[in-house]
Structures are given as structure tokens and as C-alpha cells.
């Protein structure tokens, strides 16, 4: 009986500890445990300047997916996006990389288009817009190239 008690206490401790660890890594660390939900679309950018894996993809400020991977294809940045199944993207959707606030992190904003056709899974978003380079902007302002 005494031994049982010891094991029960240890089991309880391990359970609580593992739950705490799991909460930290899934909720705060955004770790993917279950199979990835959603479908994949690709978007090519001339530059992704500061966009990171796991950044959110938003339509009208609502999160609809996240950035899966970023790779270099023919000297352009190919971003793999994972979009929720419930969201359909029109064929002329515009993908743009924006900054949250003035110094916040980068995220991807999708502006829905008006086309009747939708982008199939593993399709490609044709219309893309690179992030605004603030340094370049300031530079051209100073040197009067507006």
C-alpha cells in the first residue's frame, strides 16, 4: 500500500509536469503536434525581408493560416502558405507582406480578389507585393527621388 502511494504521487507529478511542458510548447511555442491542417498554396516574392516561419497569414485582420516554409527558387523567395480549409482564395488574390505596427513582426496579408475561379491546393498566388523597405523609403525621401 505504501509503495502504491509513492508510485501514484510520482505518476501524478510526472503527469502535471508533462502537461505544463506541453502547454508551454503548444500554446506559446506554437509547436505542431497533430497533423497539419489546411491546404498549401505558394507565393513568389522578389524579397521577403524579415518574414519568418510560423508568421500568421491574415485576411481582413483575421488569422486564416500560417507561413510554413520559405525557400529560394530561381533567386526569388518562394513562401509556402498553409491556409485553413474553410477559406477559399480567389485566383486574383493579392499576397502582401506587412508589418504589425511600426516595429512589429512581419505577417502576410491576403487581399481577396473578385475572380470566380479559386486557387486549388498546391496552387500559386500570382499577385504578390514585397514588404516596404523603410530604409529605402527614407533614403529616397532624403535624396528627393520621390
Amino acid at each position: 500500500m505504501k509503495r502504491m502511494e509513492l508510485e501514484v504521487v510520482v505518476g501524478l507529478f510526472l503527469l502535471v509536469g508533462i502537461l505544463a511542458l506541453a502547454w508551454l510548447s503548444i500554446r506559446l511555442g506554437r509547436m505542431q503536434v497533430l497533423g497539419l491542417a489546411g491546404y498549401v498554396v505558394y507565393a513568389d516574392f522578389p524579397s521577403v525581408g524579415g518574414l519568418k516561419q510560423g508568421a500568421s497569414v491574415e485576411i481582413a485582420g483575421v488569422k486564416v493560416g500560417q507561413v510554413d516554409t520559405i525557400s529560394l527558387v530561381e533567386y526569388r523567395a518562394r513562401v509556402k502558405l498553409r491556409i485553413d480549409d474553410s477559406v477559399k482564395l480567389q485566383e486574383d488574390t493579392i499576397a502582401s507582406i506587412k508589418t504589425k505596427g511600426l516595429i512589429g513582426e512581419k505577417y502576410m496579408r491576403l487581399s481577396p480578389g473578385g475572380s470566380d475561379e479559386t486557387i486549388p491546393p498546391s496552387g500559386r498566388i500570382r499577385e504578390t507585393e514585397p514588404p516596404i523597405d523603410i530604409e529605402e523609403l527614407i533614403g529616397s525621401f532624403i535624396f528627393g527621388k520621390f
Binding site: V10, F13, G29
Partner: protein, 255 residues
């Protein structure tokens, strides 16, 4: 001449002690990978190091989080950026304070007791008795303790972090009036998996460090009650100092 002699003696003694500690660690690590493992001893050790430290960890974690919430809030209001209270509390806890304070508390609560226990076994010749009975004291005493430390420390740290974040929530949101969504939302934005892995790696290394130092000091304790008392003090002091020193170096390498 006398000073030179003292300096040389000090250097040689420290070198010899350091080498002996390293050999102790090396042997212990070898025995970890050699079956059979004393499961029951290990469970008893997890109970002793982990489960029994839970109350201390809950208390210190909650108050650390609350203090962080309070102090960071007053600093951030000066810049009008209270919204970053959540990430500030969470990152401080996950990266630094969680692993370090947790290790220090467990050293004080369990480490000292481990040293005293093994030390008394040494001076009452129980370790020699184990040898005589052909029971390897390394396998029977040290390996289960080190493994238990490696298992218990990360879990205790995770609990500490969680309770601390909740404590910060109580002070920041309930007392000082930051939005609940702001607190947790910004936290989710700024805390990444890398921060959590760093915290866990730190606590793993602390688990090894504390159990190693405490077992070593107990295993090679001096003579009599005085020897055990000195070994216990040395174990706690050395563990605490090494935790803080090691924390800096791990932090600067992993950053």
C-alpha cells in the same frame, strides 16, 4: 616563500578535487548506459526530488511571477508600453528565472538532503557494506539520483514557468488592469519554441549539475558528523555558484 607554497598547495588541491569530480561524473555517466537500471530507486528519487519539491516550486513560482508583473509594469508604464507585460514576464521566466530559481530552490530543498543522506551512508560504512554485498554503490545510489534529476528538473521548471505566468496574470490583469487578451495575445506573438527549448536545455543541465555535485560531496564526505555538515554546506554553495556561472555561459552560447 610561504605564500608561494600556499598558492601552489591551493592550486594542486583544487586541481585534484576538480579531477576527482570529473572522474566521478564520467563513471556515473558510464553506469547510466549500462543496464540494469534500479527502477524502484529511481522512482523513489523522482518522488524525493520532484514531487516533494512541488509546494516550494508553486510558491516561489507564483510570487516570482507576481513580483515580475508588478515591477515590469511600473517600468513599462514609463514608456507607455504596458502591452508588452505578457511577453516580458513570460520570456524572463522561460529563459532565465524559471530554470535558475527552480534549480536553486531544489538545491536547497533536496540537494542538501541528498548530500547528507549519502554522506551519512558513507560515514556509517553503509557504502562499504554495499561494496561487500557486491552491490555497486554507483548503480544503486548515484545513477538513479542523476536520472531522477534529469527527469524532475525540466518538469519542475515547466510548472514554475506556468505558475509564474499565471502569477503575472493575476497582478497585471486583475490588479493593474491590462487586458487579458493583450497579456496572453502578445505573449503568444513573442514567445517562440526556441525560447522554450533553451529553458528546457538549461534545466536539464542544472538537473545533472545539482545531482552530480550533491552526490559527489556526499560520496567523498569527511569524517564524522562534522564532515557531513561540511559536505552538505559545500554541496549547496558549490551547486548554487555553479548554477549561476553555468547559466551565464549557456545563455551566451545559446543566444
Amino acid at each position: 616563500m610561504r605564500i608561494l607554497w600556499l598558492l601552489g598547495e591551493w592550486a594542486l588541491t583544487s586541481l585534484r578535487d576538480g579531477g576527482r569530480m570529473m572522474i566521478f561524473l564520467g563513471t556515473a555517466l558510464c553506469w547510466i548506459f549500462l543496464p540494469p537500471l534500479k527502477w524502484r530507486r529511481m522512482i523513489a528519487r523522482i518522488h524525493f526530488i520532484g514531487a516533494k519539491s512541488l509546494l516550494v516550486i508553486l510558491l516561489t513560482g507564483a510570487f516570482t511571477g507576481m513580483v515580475l508583473g508588478l515591477q515590469v509594469f511600473y517600468t513599462l508604464t514609463k514608456f507607455g508600453s504596458e502591452a508588452f507585460l505578457g511577453p516580458a514576464v513570460a520570456l524572463t521566466l522561460i529563459r532565465e528565472l524559471g530554470p535558475v530559481l527552480c534549480a536553486l530552490m531544489v538545491t536547497g530543498r533536496a540537494g542538501s538532503a541528498l548530500t547528507a543522506e549519502i554522506g551519512i551512508m558513507r560515514i556509517t560504512e553503509q557504502i562499504d557494506a554495499l561494496h561487500v554485498m557486491a552491490l555497486n554503490p554507483m548503480r544503486y545510489l548515484v545513477v538513479p539520483t542523476i536520472l531522477a534529476g534529469l527527469i524532475a528538473f525540466p518538469l519542475l521548471t515547466a510548472i514554475f514557468d506556468l505558475v509564474g505566468i499565471y502569477g503575472g496574470y493575476l497582478v497585471g490583469v486583475k490588479l493593474l488592469g491590462i487586458g487579458e487578451g493583450t497579456y496572453f495575445g502578445e505573449m503568444e506573438t513573442y514567445v517562440g519554441l526556441g525560447d522554450i527549448t533553451q529553458g528546457i536545455l538549461k534545466s536539464l543541465s542544472f538537473g545533472l549539475l545539482v545531482t552530480w555535485v550533491c552526490c559527489y560531496k556526499g560520496f567523498y564526505t569527511g569524517y564524522g558528523a562534522e564532515g557531513v555538515s561540511r559536505a552538505t554546506t559545500e554541496a549547496v554553495v558549490l551547486s548554487s555558484v555553479l548554477i549561476l556561472v553555468w547559466d551565464y555561459f549557456v545563455g551566451s552560447v545559446l543566444l
